[in-house]
């Protein structure tokens, strides 16, 4: 159904090649995964299919994208619009910035249906509600009337997916569609996709870093590195017997439980203490009324100690981000106390100075980067607060951080919009750690990173901890990563901490039923997958 030949993408008509002669085929009802290094051109390749490359990037003339007998690179804009949405649906990598902040969810979902299927109002509403229910959004009716900023990262990702799948396209391109989803929801979403392929013959092109998920669900895989497809074939074969060097490194980087195990006890004193914190989001003003307030966190107690990594896992929308933001003082708790370094509450006034000790990596790196600053300036910024530091020292430190997070110094002079998703995420991490803070809230810091880079980052965190004894609140859905980096784990559900304990206790001997469900649903790839057929496994489920 889709046949990509020699897809080449360059910066401007004659510039650098971002994607280099990429070719692959995808049949109706088939699923294929595009995996590979962060920044290797996966996103751009996918966007090229729909003709939606960002400004200076262009598809080279020799490229062919054949879809149902027509070449998409040569289609008239009008015909192309008929293809978009209805024939080929695409889920973008950054759900946070892909939803229109000023339009209600219901309207954004209805739009495609109205356009391509010409359905009645009631019908549209029914289908939207049904879809929201499938992807486990609570109170779907309320959701339709709400605006994107009222949702958590994972919820927005699901809404994006829902609005695209709702149209039952012939080809579904999903760019990292489950990075912000907990394992339970992730499984539901993938099942939904499989169902779509089987019922409608939809073809799925999935871009992902999650080899576990790929091995469980996707029969075919293309591995990309530096713009080129370095390997392709059935996932079982490619993943069992990788021939290319990069693929091998990728598999080597699969997360393992860190040897260090529980260091938790030894470096004693609490650095952050949270007591009985309740957080409400105020309702929205209507002309003569106000929508009701929403409680995101219901009385949480939590302590993070110096030098430890506390992983916060839990359902999407359970309040993890909210809690993290409250700790750094971006959200004011409705009640309860949060103290940092023994001092209470973070008022803007005393944030200066003391706040340097506390940093955050936002869940959505794109919108947390100033679009008008260059990457090197963004990363160097926290250092500017330290007046004792000379410009040369600063320069050196930035250089060092660039290598630490695996960014080439080519990126120094770029702007955020000129990076890939994973690269942006690393910029955000680099900015958080460059000043060597005592405490970092890292909200899904590795969700957009491929295994090799992810491993590098996780090791970096451990190493920094060993060297500088800093503490980290590590919010993640990726239990593999959590296993690798955490000292202790807290599990959150519906705004409450339902379980907290040493890492091995929680993972090996979960107490709460919800924790158990989460762990069961995790598609951790383990060394044994080579022996079992992942497809069969998926079918068995």
């Amino acid at each position: 159904m889709l046949s990509v030949r020699d897809l080449t993408i360059t910066v401007g008509p004659s510039g650098k090649r971002i994607v280099d002669a990429l070719s692959f085929d995808l049949a109706a009802g088939d699923m294929m995964a595009l995996v590979g290094e962060s920044g290797s051109g996966k996103t751009m390749a996918a966007r090229a299919i729909l003709g939606l490359l960002p400004q200076p990037l262009v598809t080279a003339p020799q490229s062919r994208i054949l879809f149902k007998d027509s070449d998409l690179t040569r289609l008239e804009p009008k015909a192309m619009r008929k293809v978009r949405g209805a024939e080929i649906g695409m889920v973008f990598q950054e759900p946070m910035v892909s939803l229109n902040p000023a339009v209600t969810i219901g309207e954004q979902m209805a739009e495609g249906l109205r356009l391509h299927h010409k359905l009645a109002k009631v019908e549209i509403r029914d289908r939207s509600l049904a879809m929201l229910e499938r992807i486990r959004i609570k109170e779907p009716a309320k959701c339709l009337a709400a605006y994107p900023h009222e949702f958590s990262g994972g919820m927005r990702q699901r809404i994006m997916l829902a609005s695209v799948m709702l149209l039952k396209p012939r080809l579904l391109i999903a760019d990292e569609p489950t990075t912000a989803l907990d394992t339970l929801v992730q499984r539901d979403v993938l099942d939904l996709m499989v169902e779509l392929t089987q019922a409608n013959g939809t073809a799925v092109l999935l871009i992902s870093h999650d080899l576990g998920m790929v091995s469980h669900y996707i029969p075919n895989v293309v591995v990309m590195s530096e713009g080129k497809a370095v390997e392709s074939g059935p996932s079982s074969e490619v993943l069992r017997a990788p021939t290319h060097d990069y693929t091998r490194r990728l598999l080597d980087a699969l997360p393992q439980r860190s040897a260090g195990g529980t260091r938790g006890g030894d470096c004693g004193k609490p650095i952050v203490e949270i007591r009985d914190v309740v957080i409400d989001y105020p309702g929205r003003n209507r002309l003569f009324s106000r929508t009701e307030a929403k409680r995101a966190v219901h009385g949480v107690d939590l302590t993070v100690r110096r030098g430890e990594t506390l992983a916060l896992v839990g359902a999407s929308g359970s309040g993890k981000t909210t809690l993290g933001r409250a700790i750094v003082g971006l959200v004011k708790p409705t009640s309860g106390e949060i103290s940092f370094l023994g001092a209470e509450g973070l008022e803007p006034a005393d944030r200066h100075g003391r706040h340097r000790e506390m940093q955050i990596v936002f869940q959505d790196p794109y919108s947390s980067l100033d679009p008008r600053q260059r990457i090197a300036d963004i990363i160097a910024e926290p250092l500017k607060l330290d007046k004792s530091m000379s410009a040369a020292e600063r320069e050196r430190r930035v250089e060092q951080v660039f290598t630490e997070v695996g960014l080439s110094s080519d990126f120094r002079r770029r702007f955020p919009h000129q990076l890939s998703g994973g690269q942006r995420q690393r910029v955000a991490i680099a900015r958080a750690i460059v000043g060597r803070p005592a405490f970092v809230v890292a909200d899904e810091p590795v969700s957009a990173l491929d295994m090799t880079v992810q491993k590098q980052i996780l090791l970096l965190i451990r190493e920094l901890q060993a060297r500088h004894n800093f503490a980290c609140l590590f919010v993640s859905h990726d239990l593999g990563a959590v296993e690798q980096v955490a000292d202790r784990i807290a599990v959150m559900q519906d705004g409450r901490i339902v379980e907290i304990g040493e890492r091995d206790d929680v993972i090996d001997r979960p107490q709460h039923p919800y924790t158990r469900q989460l762990l069961e649903a995790a598609m951790l790839i383990d060394r044994r997958f080579a022996e079992t057929n992942p497809l069969e496994q998926a079918m068995a489920r």
């Binding site: 400004q55 944030r351 506390m358 008008r372 910024e381 900015r431």
Partner: protein, 265 residues
């Protein structure tokens, strides 16, 4: 280079050169009366004709360029700097600061410029600086409003939060992250304002509160020529043309600068 940049730079340079070197460019005294040539059209004696007192239009235009350019630049600069500072302060600090600043700002905005101008002229006398002050004060609150609105929307962005979390003071956050992201509306406003100022100056001149005659400014030439609109249309067309071309140039330059500052282009 793009057309708008070329055009903008050319016009602005021309304006500046004329403003600075004007008196040496045209040998004719802009104040010299020549009553027999009253309202005369273009001729060898007066290349662009003569006005209601027979004064040479060309030399008046050239000498007016200086006055008009100075008033416009100074006023826009004054309004822009003060307005941006207050606008950012109000939008970013919110709370009481915002409320008090907006209260004063609204009072300013609601105040008729004419009365303000009369008051200022009464204190410091009709002069170029008086006009700059009067117009600057009249336009400042507009800048405050526009900047404040831009700040209110930008301050909700995550990168601004990121900056505060980083430990940056509010001031640094404003200067480094908020201000650069408001430049687009500010530049549009500044270039638009340039035009408004030249026109307001003409209105003030018309009311006798402008540049003290007989020194010409484009605005005052336009206003004093009004009674002769059909009798000697060149009196009104020529300064109008000068104003329009200058504004066109400034606006294009503004667009070019904005594009140049924009990382996404």
């Amino acid at each position: 280079m793009k057309f708008n940049a070329v055009f903008g730079i050319t016009v602005t340079t021309l304006l500046l050169v004329t403003a600075i070197a004007g008196p040496w460019l045209v040998g004719y005294d802009p104040l010299k009366l020549d009553l027999p040539s009253r309202l005369a059209g273009p001729s060898a004696r007066h290349l662009l004709g003569a006005d209601e007192f027979g004064r040479d239009i060309l030399s008046r235009l050239v000498s007016g360029a200086r006055t008009s350019a100075w008033i416009a630049f100074a006023t826009v600069l004054f309004a822009l700097v003060t307005g941006t500072v207050f606008g950012i302060a109000a939008g970013f600090l919110r709370g009481w600061t915002d409320r008090i600043l907006m209260m004063i700002n609204d009072a300013f905005l609601a105040f008729p410029g004419l009365l303000l101008a009369l008051g200022i002229m009464a204190v410091i006398g009709a002069s170029r600086d008086g006009i700059v002050l009067a117009l600057g004060l009249a336009y400042m609150p507009i800048v405050v409003r526009v900047v404040r609105a831009a700040v209110l929307s930008i301050r909700e962005r995550e990168y601004v939060e990121a900056s505060r979390v980083m430990g940056n003071s509010e001031f640094i956050t404003m200067a480094r992250h908020v201000l650069p992201n408001c430049v687009a509306p500010i530049i549009v406003l500044a270039t638009t304002m340039f035009g408004w100022v030249i026109l307001s100056e003409s209105a003030l001149s018309f009311l006798g509160l402008g540049v003290p005659p007989p020194a010409p400014s484009w605005g005052s030439m336009l206003s004093t020529a009004r009674p002769y609109i059909s009798q000697a249309p060149h009196l009104i067309i020529l300064p109008g043309l000068c104003i329009s071309i200058t504004l066109l140039g400034i606006n294009m330059l503004g667009d070019a600068v904005r594009d140049w500052l924009d990382p996404k282009l």
